[in-house]
Structure formats: structure tokens, C-alpha cells
């Protein structure tokens, strides 16, 4: 029986949602190639994680009781050893910041290709076809490769696996070369605190790189004042220091679910959308009809923000 090996993500005592989605993606791929689905959970409270990962479709959960938090050296060495022992056809990890910190090294050591940030997968046993975006989400591509591979999956593309499975739960004891562990995690810090919590707002006026210059932000503040709304933004605005970190929506910022989210000059890159797609109503103001934000918006104005925003503000004065 060949194998698909999925490696779960967890942080500070919690399995991350994408770990359950990984089980669904892994099961489908295992079905495609007639393989068993093996799941590994490495470091931390693995005996507590294992039953949670035993959901429908999982054949074996391997617990690796070594260290507390993510260490890319431990993850790399363990995953390589387990994949080799199982002769895994595919190794699957989340396309998370930690996934990208070890999955490429696993591929390198197994000497197999890596394909990252996939949104759909299909295999005939030898050829893997993976769907992924290019050009900031403007196009979707299908790439193929043959033979074994390491694959990372995008969050929120597969449904979470459900139910309770009847997986075998077994401990895997990796042979860790401690001299080769050259990166040491010394702590964590929460950033993006402060007085404003954009995740509480009912209406967000959110601004992106389309605003062009810092002084143009006044247009956005004027609109937010007129609407009695809160200002948030995409990442480049925060990177430029025009708004504080606590205003950033997205993967590395805040997740928001307002009644109305008005995206102004924001293209809708996946890391941004991860923070706002749960909004009740999404309005996009963008000159580009092909901007990915248009694909998730409920209402759109395809026009210049410098014309539309002042006109909108005027409607409320």
C-alpha cells in the first residue's frame, strides 16, 4: 500500500484549522492513488492532538513527542524519516508560514519536486496535477509533475474533515541529529495591539495601494467619518507606515467580519482575502475589472477611486 503523509500544523497548544482541511485534501489524494492516509503530528501535546486528528478517512496518526513548539529542523528531519519509512508518494503540509519554513527542505532532502499554495489536486498514480494561482491571483494555472512530490495546500480551499475515524495511533520515534538544529525559537510576541480593534467594526472602509500617496488617505478618512465607519487597510499601507499595524486586514493582520467591507484600491491577494472574506457584504472600488477582489465582491464599481470616493462622501454630507 502506498502512502500519503500529511503533517499537521499547530501553534501554542492548538491545532490550526488548516490541519483538518489537510486531512480532506490528503484523503482525496490517497483515494486517487489507492494509498493509505498517514498523518503526523510533531512536537507539543501530541497525545492530546492525535485523537482530534483521528477523523473520517485517516488511517494512521503518528505522534512524535519531541520538543514543544515548531522547530524547522525537527520537522524536516522527522518528516523525511517518516516519508522514507512509509515510502510516501506525496507529503502534504499547509502552505502556512511554518509550512514554508520546512516543506521546501523536506523536498530538497527527499530529492523530489515541491509545488506550493495549491487549491486543487488530482493524481492518476504517477502524474500529479495541481491547480495554483499566478500573478497575484489574476490567473489560475494547472501544473503537472510525475512521481513523488511535496505539496503545500492553501487554507480554506478544502472543507475540514469531520467525524471520528478509526485510525491507528502510534508513536514514531525519530532519530534527531541535534547538532544539525541551528535555529532556536526563543519566544513569541503578539503585535498589532492598540486602542482600535478593527474586528469589532460593523462597517470598514478599507484602503489599499491604489491610494498611491500618504496624503491621499485623507479621502478615506473623510469617507469613514461620513459613514461613521472604521478605517482599515491592506498590507502595503501598513508596510509604508501610513497606518498602524492594528489596521491591517489579512493573514498576518486581523480577521474581520463586518456587515459591510468596502475595499478601495485593493487587489484582493489571497493573504488579504484570508482576513475579510467572511464579511457580510463586500463592495469593491477598483479600476481593474480583472482584480481578484472582483471575484469575491457582492457589489463593484469599476472606476477610479479618486472620482468615486469623494462622490460617495458627498452623498452623506
Amino acid at each position: 500500500m502506498s502512502a500519503v503523509l500529511a503533517v499537521a500544523d499547530h501553534r501554542r497548544g492548538e491545532l490550526r484549522d488548516v490541519s483538518y482541511e489537510l486531512l480532506t485534501a490528503g484523503r482525496a489524494l490517497a483515494d486517487d492513488v489507492g494509498a493509505d492516509l498517514h498523518v503526523a503530528v510533531i512536537s507539543g501535546t501530541v497525545d492530546d492532538f492525535a485523537p482530534k486528528l483521528d477523523r473520517d478517512g485517516v488511517d494512521t496518526v503518528h505522534t512524535v513527542d519531541y520538543g514543544e513548539e515548531f522547530d524547522h529542523g525537527v520537522y524536516t528531519q522527522t518528516t523525511v524519516q517518516l516519508a522514507t519509512e512509509l515510502e510516501a508518494q506525496y507529503v502534504l503540509t499547509p502552505n502556512s508560514v511554518n509550512g514554508l519554513d520546512y516543506a521546501p527542505a523536506v523536498a530538497s532532502r527527499l530529492d523530489v519536486p515541491i509545488v506550493t499554495d495549491t487549491v486543487a489536486l488530482e493524481s492518476d498514480g504517477d502524474e500529479l496535477r495541481a491547480t495554483r494561482e499566478m500573478y497575484g491571483g489574476k490567473v489560475e494555472t494547472t501544473v503537472s509533475l510525475s512521481g513523488p512530490a511535496v505539496v503545500t495546500i492553501r487554507g480554506a480551499e478544502w472543507p475540514a474533515a469531520e467525524g471520528t475515524g478509526d485510525a491507528t495511533i502510534e508513536a514514531f520515534d525519530p532519530d534527531i541529529d541535534e547538532d544539525a538544529l541551528g535555529a532556536t525559537v526563543t519566544g513569541f510576541e503578539e503585535v498589532a495591539g492598540g486602542d482600535v480593534d478593527i474586528s469589532d467594526a460593523d462597517v470598514l472602509v478599507s484602503v489599499g495601494r491604489g491610494i498611491d500617496e500618504e496624503e491621499n488617505l485623507e479621502l478615506i478618512h473623510d469617507l469613514a467619518d461620513a459613514l461613521d465607519a472604521t478605517v482599515s487597510s491592506s498590507r502595503p499601507i501598513v508596510d509604508s507606515g501610513w497606518l498602524p499595524k492594528n489596521r491591517q486586514v489579512g493573514q498576518s493582520g486581523k480577521v474581520v467580519t463586518p456587515d459591510v467591507y468596502i475595499a478601495i484600491g485593493i487587489s484582493g491577494a489571497v493573504q488579504h482575502v484570508a482576513g475579510m472574506k467572511g464579511s457580510e457584504t463586500i463592495v469593491a472600488i477598483n479600476t481593474d475589472p480583472n482584480a481578484p477582489i472582483m471575484d469575491i465582491a457582492d457589489y463593484a464599481i469599476q472606476d477610479d477611486l479618486f472620482d468615486v470616493v469623494p462622490a460617495l462622501t458627498e452623498q452623506f454630507q
Binding site: R11, V97, E133, T141, A183, D202, N290, A291, A311
Partner: protein, 263 residues
Amino acid sequence: MKILVPVTEVTTVEDEFEIEGTAIADRYLGADLNEWDEYAIEEAVQLQEAGLADEIVTVTIGPDDCEQTIRQALAKGPDRAIRVWDDALADADLLDVGLKSQILAAVVDAEEPDLVLSGVQSGDDSFGATGVTLADAVGYEWAAVVNHLAHDFDDDTASVRRELEGGVEELTDVELPAVLTIQTGINEPRYASLRGIRQAQRKPLEVQDLADLGIDADGLESALTLEEMAEPESETDVTVWEGDADETAAELADLLREKGVAQ
């Protein structure tokens, strides 16, 4: 300390475009210095200004066309550039992570930098995996998605912050030599000065092919093949308001009032 910065020229796409076969038609494409690399270059230059780095070398995989982008990078401060290209690479419609890393690894072996600062990802194909693959290939340590680097390297260690999801940062000590993939926002990239642009024209730009790097072009192939390209389908039934700005703003105002906004 010597720093190597891999610099990518990314393909940019106009708002409106057409797909022909498995590619966007050339007439809609442009080129630019990869956004993430701007931050990697700036970080290297700041380390040099702080007296911590002696030399900054950039390396780019790409045809002659990208020399303008390389000069653009040099104008911001690096000392010299290497460009790697080969006829064997010209036919590939996609250079996969393994192939790029193999080439960069040969450059690292030749240059022996103490620190490699790459971007987190390239803005066009966004694999986000080349830096870490390179690190493993050359036996360097690494850290992915770094948004702070302490400007001292006591005990031959780089103290970094890795930007995790949800506003959490991980503090990590990474032994040198290392590859760090640099995230936007780590610094404020400078604009090239006129003097910098002038000087960039005279900085050494060495061109190497695969044979120069000791790579056998024969067995070299991208493991990934591009099979299809399409515009993504809309996930929602979007209502697009037509008309001039006053008309569309009025439509949106009606919607907002209906939703009870500003009342």
C-alpha cells in the same frame, strides 16, 4: 561579512489581458524588480552602512533583457551583480523551485556568502520556497518570512523575528551562515539616488552560463510543466454598477442606507 541577495525580475500583467495557450499574451506583460527583493536589498545595504557587511553581491537568473532590472537593484547600493543564463533555460515555460535552487546553490558555493537575503516570494509565480530549498541544498541554516533582523551577529547568530499568521511573531536565533527570506515592511526601501543610478552603470555585472557554474545542462529540466492557464471564475454573483462616478456613488449610497449605515 559577505551578503548575497538573489534578485528576481518579475513579470507584471496589465489590467486587461488575454491568455493564449498556457501564457498571457506578450503584449500585456511588463517587468519589474520583485517587491520582496527590494526589502532584501535594503536590509543588506543597511547592514553594510552599519559596518556589518563588507560586500553585497546580487544574483539573478534571467536573460539579457533583465539587465535593466539588475542595474535598478545595483543603484540601491549592492557592489556587484551576477546574472546566470543559458540556452538550456530559455525553452522552459516555468522554472521550478528545484531548478532555481540548484543554480543559486552553485553561485553560493562559488561566492561563499555568510548571509543570503532573498525575498519571501516572487510576486509572479509566488512559490515562496526557493530560499529554504537553497539553504538546504548548500547546508546553510535558514528562516522563512523574516520581518526583523537584529543588526548584530554575536556568536555568529542572526536574531530574527518570523512573521506568523494572525499578528504573532516568532523570535528565533539562526546560526550563520544562513538564508533569510525577507518579508515586506522589514524596512523602508530607499529610492535610488541619481548618483546611485550613475554608479550602477559602472558596477561589475558578470554573466555566467551553466557550464561556468559546473552544472550539466543535459539532465537539467524543470520538474513542473505548465499545463493550463485560465481566468478564475467568480465566486459571487457580483453586481457591477455602471455609469459615471456620481451615478455609481449614488447606487452605493442607496445600498449603504438600506444596510443601515450612517443612520
